[in-house]
Structure formats: structure tokens, C-alpha cells
Symmetry: C2
């Protein structure tokens, strides 16, 4: 154990929101408020931007019950940003400003909750502080529905999105099979470079409603093969449900979603239907069957009402372990998830260097994709199934979710 | 009480599916199986088409536990159809065929579960049977997420869709407010002629997340006013969430969604993005702000995982009361919902003539729409709020919904 470091902490949220990112924030805030080493807890308004702009919320003003409701609140309650920090060796302006703010508030702990880019930011801040001789422990808390962070079994946020996607795909399957006249249904799922979320559609098989075809961005997409597969399935089963990643691309790397010209409507406005509607149009034109395109859009990353209990708990623990580890002397690390050995699923919380996480993208292994490139293997199901277990008793008010209502009092 | 009528019954499902239509089916099937007057319970495959084609499932073969799981299963488990029966005075072919089937299986009770058109079918069947002297009691069981049936306070299926829409709008609101850079988000909601579902987006206000603007098909849409309103809200609040009915139309009655030409993409395929994406494009072109269009699509009518407990119970009761009333001698009626007098919400089940229901469309009252045509009043909230209360403990298997698995053995 290192010598005790006393001082304030900052928690910042970054990147796209998830159903459980606030569970991690609560893990950090609650644990920090209860820590004897941490003298003050600040929430950064809109991530690193809030630190640079000296917009810090003082958590002492918040009601304990409202803070606890963060466990029930989707999206990033403190606000997020997509601010890319420069390389400190090239331009250290932002870093010197950070240092100034850290000194002003005696910040000795910095927790940053986000995905790939955020871990990169976190890493740079950590190295700058070390270099400048200012003692500050910097910890990354993982978050991304895309599940593409390196060096961790999975990422908080993924499981809840996966559960929502699988449940929604099962419900769409039910709906699309109601008439005896056939139908093709194409469901567009997030994940531009990694197919974890789209693969999760296969979990609907648990409810007896697996999509017939699943296309991940890990393989090359071929439009003719796609249409031929849809036609074959439709002929065999009288219906065809397709799950497709927004990031599917041709062999030359170009996104299928971008392979269209700007067409115009009656007002002269460009048409910007998504990939699902593009593929639906292709199938309709070439086969003449009834087709519907559905884009799960933002719903898949913020559907806290359908969150996985495992995910909510692990997200909270990621925040808690980050604080406990920092207080114990760790810095420059990210909390990662390790699947314990043995038959039953158990998550172990470990620390990995931020440098080993930043700027990698973990993809679905090629051997988990079926040889025809239109499905996933049992390996994926075995991997994902433990993560989506359990649902959470969500507090409601008048039949609708009761979210945290923070006062967000700016620190002086 | 009429004299006892002994014989078999048929239950058929018709029109678009809902989250709770199978709760009504279970209400009919369970009550009929337990009735001493009803000798046999048949489920029609794909509604009236299944009767005409002599495709009836014998419910005696079904496991009681699986039947009970119908309470948990969205969509129409027996299959649906959109078959329009001819006027029997013009062409009675189908009706004579129905009579033949009814006689073959000694069917003395016919329960039809659906919306406007289905009540019309039900009414015609009822009148034909009466005219032909074949004793058969015909009862309508209401169903429609559109909530547009006449002579009933509300319709089974509406409340669960409303709850899902409000919850999803709250989640989208949270997600769309995460960055300090502004955003306009346009959410397209079902209901081509009646705005009940779109109005339900206002319920998200309970979670502190009401849409800024709400457009129902009950008023005329004006594109310039719409864009001006979005701009005004965006300037004031830095964000704008819009809920819009798929059925909004201009003063001349033409649908906004259809006011576009068939544009083509790089493959020469017509672009068929929906209304949300059309409006998003208009706002983007005219204002330059970041815009996202979201279509709730099929999800809103089949999201059983988020069903309202009140709705599930009332849907079941609608089926149960239909059977009990028919056994007691009623015919040619639909089970309707009446809000009991007094402060606390209570639903009373009453019977109304099928003729008073068929071929009307109940709209949102003009006085429940705000004068600017871009919102709803407290009257709507007071009306809808009691209906979306409670959630149901849904059986799951491996973290995903466990749906009914019926054997569907065809009657000989």
C-alpha cells in the first residue's frame, strides 16, 4: 500500500451514452464520498471539457437518494463530450490548463468513464501529470455498448444493449410472423467496426426467435449474395428476419450505407434513410416481396428499462473498484473484467495499463462467425449469455421511470 | 338468462398485433375450456381465413402452462389476417362457407378479437347467422394499439404501446441531451388517423422528459410553422425533441410522408425512408442543426417486455367477459371498457352493439390539443396515465422472454 494521498477527486463521463454509464458514475461518487482519503467529490460537466472550462459540480450538495437513482438513469447524467485531446508532446495547452484546475481544487484523483478515445485521454492525462511532478492518480472506468475495448472480457453497457437488442429482435420476429403472407424484415444495429451488438441478435434464439441471417462488419458484404440468401430463406420459410450491422462494408472497405447518391424529395432535400431502408429497397426492387427496414437507433443504447442486472452491478463495481484501487495507490490503469475460470459465470475485477487499452478495437473473433458469413456460432452465445442475465427492479413514478434529479451546483 | 346453448367455440385474431392481444386470446380460451356449455375450443389459424380454409387448432391438445404463457407472448399467436369480408347482401359465398364449417364442428360460439375492420366482420357474421336461423352467439373482443374504437373508453393494446412510447421517448430525451452541442430529434409514432399513440409521448413528462413538440394527425400540418417551431425551441433550449404521428397531413389532406418523389440511390433503387427521416432532412437543410430521425416502427406494438399491468389484465378480462356473456345468452356485442365514476381509476366491462363500433374511428378530442397544435393538454395525461400503471413479472428463460409454445394441432 502506497502512502495515503489526500485530496479531491473528479469524475468525468465521455463518449456515447449507455444504459448503465451512470451506474459506474454512482460507483465512483458513492465510494469517493465514503472514502476518508478523498476530501471532495466533483463531477465534471460534459467530461474533460467541463474540467477545462472550470465547470465542476459539487457532489456534496446532492441528496443521497437522488445519487442512488443514478443506478436507474440512462445516458450520461453529468453530460458527455467527444473532445479529442492533443498529443501533449505537440501541444500541451489543454494539459497545463488541467493542471491549473487540479491545483485550484486540490484534485488528487481523476476518474474518467468512457470508451476507446476516453481511455486515450485518460492515458495522456496520467502521463502528463506524472511528468509534471503533480501527484494525481488517474484511473479509467470502461464504458461502451460497442464492447470493443481491448484487454477486458467485456465492457459495461454492452450487456444491457445486447439484452435490449435480443428482446426487441424476438418481439419483431413475433410481429413479422403474424400473417400468412410472407415478409422480409431488416434490422439495423449499431457497431460500426465491431459486430458484438449485431451478433447479440442471435440471442433471440433463446426465445425461439433467432434472426435468419446476421451480418457483422468483421466480414465483407456482398450485395448479390445477400439478396440471394434472403430469397432462399424466404422461399424455404415464407419469411426472413435479417440483423445487420450499420458498419457492413464491401470488400474494398466502403460502407454499404454510403453507397448511395444524394437523392432529393419533392422539396429538394436530400434523402438520408439509413442502411436498413437502403437494404429494404434493394430487396424489394430485386425480389418484389414485402420488406420492412427497422433501425434500432438510439433506443438500443439508452433502454435502461430493459437493462441487464449483471451489467448494472458490474458497471457499479467498475466505478467502485477504480476508486478503491486509486486510494490504495494505483494510477494509469483501467478497471477491466476477467471471466473467472470454472463453469459458472463470475466476473473478476482486475487492473490493466491504460496504454494497453487505448486505441485498439476488439472485434468479434473470425472463428465465431459461421463460414457463410451470415451467422454466429455457439461460442458467441456462450460468451454473451451470462452477461444479459437478470433484470433490475427499476424505481418508477406513475408508471414511468423515476430518474435521478441532480442539483448540479457548480463548485466555486 | 337465456336457455343453455351447448356447442363448440372458435376464437380468431385479426388485424395488426399488439403486446396483449394474446392475453385476450387466453381470456377466451381459458374461460371457454372451463365452461360447461362450451364443448370444444378451436383457435382459427390466421383469423377468419383459417375458418374459411378449415384450419382450426384444437385447444384440447395444448398444455395448460403453455396456454397461460400467452399472457407473456406478444403478437397474434394464432396468426392474423387482413381479410375483408364482402357485404353478405351482395356476395354471401364466404358466409355460406362459414356456416358449413360452423355446422361441421357444431360451432355455437364465435369470438373475434380485433380492431375496426374485425368488428365489422364480426357484425356481418352475426347478422348472417341470425338471418340463416343457425343459432350461434357472436362476440367481439376489442384490440388495437390505435385506440380508435368507438363506444369504449379505451382499447386493449393501447396502454402497453403508450407505456413503451413514453418510456422510449424519455430514454431518447436523456440520450439526446448528453452533449452540450445541440440536437434535434424527430420521433415517428404509429397512428395514421388517430393521434392517441403520438399523444402518449407527452407522458414522458412524468420522467421529466416530455417532448418539446407533438404533432397529431387530428390537426393540419404546416411545414413552415413546424420548422419555425423547431428553430424557436432549439434556440431557447439548445435542443428539440419532436414526437410526430406517421399520419400528419397538410390542410389538403395529403400525407406529409407521401409528399416526396421516388429518388434513387446508386443502384437505381427508390429511396423509402419514412416520415421521421423526411422531416429530419427538411430541418437539417433549412436550419443546418444536427438532426436525427427515429421511427419506433414495429417495436411500439409488440414490446411485451414493457407492457402495462393494467392493460394485460384488462385484455384478459375482455376475453373472459366475452365468453361469460355469450354463455349467458348475449350475441352481436363487443366487450367495451367504461371508466367507473369517482376519483380512483376502475374499469367496468360492458357490452355494446357491434353495429355501434364497426366503421367508426375515434380521434383525440380537439380540446385536448393545445391551441398551437403542437402539444396535448392535461386532459389527455389524466386520461392516459391510469392505463399505463404497473409492470408485469414476465417469465424469462436465460434472461430472455419465455413465450408460449403451442402445438397447434389441426382439428380433423
Amino acid at each position: 500500500m502506497e502512502k495515503e494521498l489526500r485530496g479531491a477527486c473528479i469524475i468525468g463521463q465521455s463518449g456515447g451514452p449507455t444504459s448503465v454509464i451512470n451506474s459506474s458514475a454512482y460507483g465512483v461518487i458513492r465510494t469517493a464520498l465514503d472514502s476518508e482519503s478523498i476530501t471532495k467529490v466533483y463531477g465534471a460537466a460534459h467530461g474533460i471539457k467541463g474540467v477545462l472550462e472550470d465547470k465542476l459540480y459539487d457532489m456534496d450538495f446532492e441528496d443521497a437518494r437522488e445519487l442512488e437513482l443514478l443506478m436507474n438513469t440512462p445516458s450520461s447524467e453529468l453530460g458527455s463530450c467527444r473532445y479529442k485531446m492533443a498529443d501533449p508532446d505537440v501541444d500541451d495547452t489543454d494539459y497545463r490548463r488541467l493542471l491549473e484546475i487540479f491545483k485550484k481544487y486540490d484534485v488528487r484523483y481523476f476518474f474518467y468513464n468512457g470508451g476507446n478515445d476516453s481511455m486515450d485521454t485518460c492515458d495522456k492525462v496520467s502521463r502528463f501529470m506524472a511528468k509534471s511532478g503533480y501527484e494525481c492518480r488517474v484511473m479509467g472506468v470502461p464504458k461502451t455498448i460497442d464492447n470493443d475495448l481491448n484487454n477486458t472480457d467485456h465492457c459495461p453497457g454492452f450487456a444491457s444493449a445486447a439484452k435490449y437488442i435480443a428482446t426487441s429482435c424476438a418481439e419483431i420476429y413475433k410481429d413479422a410472423h403474424v400473417y400468412d403472407t410472407g415478409m422480409v424484415c431488416i434490422i439495423e444495429i449499431m457497431g460500426r467496426h465491431a459486430g458484438w451488438l449485431t451478433a447479440s441478435a442471435a440471442l433471440a434464439g433463446i426465445s425461439g426467435c433467432a434472426p435468419d441471417l446476421i451480418y457483422l462488419p468483421e466480414t465483407n458484404f456482398d450485395m448479390d449474395e445477400f439478396v440471394a440468401s434472403v430469397e432462399r430463406v424466404y422461399k424455404e420459410r415464407g419469411n426472413c428476419i435479417v440483423a445487420v450491422s450499420e458498419g457492413v462494408h464491401y470488400a474494398d472497405g466502403s460502407f454499404v450505407s454510403e453507397a448511395k447518391t444524394s437523392a432529393t424529395d419533392g422539396f429538394g432535400h436530400a434523402q438520408l434513410g439509413g442502411l436498413a431502408s437502403l437494404l429494404a429497397n434493394v430487396v424489394k426492387e430485386r425480389t418484389g416481396v414485402k420488406v420492412r427496414g427497422i433501425e434500432l437507433s438510439l433506443l438500443q443504447r439508452c433502454a435502461a428499462h430493459a437493462a441487464s442486472a449483471v451489467d448494472v452491478e458490474e458497471a457499479f463495481m467498475a466505478g467502485k473498484v477504480a476508486v478503491e484501487s486509486a486510494v490504495a495507490g494505483e494510477t494509469g490503469k483501467m478497471v477491466a473484467f476477467k471471466r473467472a475460470d470454472g463453469g459458472e459465470y463470475k466476473c473478476e475485477y482486475v487492473l490493466v495499463p491504460l496504454t494497453s487499452v487505448a486505441n485498439f478495437e476488439k472485434k468479434v473473433p473470425a472463428e465465431w462467425i459461421t463460414p457463410d458469413g451470415a451467422g454466429v456460432t455457439q461460442d458467441f452465445i456462450d460468451y454473451a449469455l451470462p452477461l444479459i442475465q437478470g433484470s433490475v427492479e427499476r424505481p418508477t413514478e406513475n408508471g414511468l421511470p423515476r430518474y435521478a434529479r441532480l442539483k448540479k451546483v457548480l463548485a466555486k
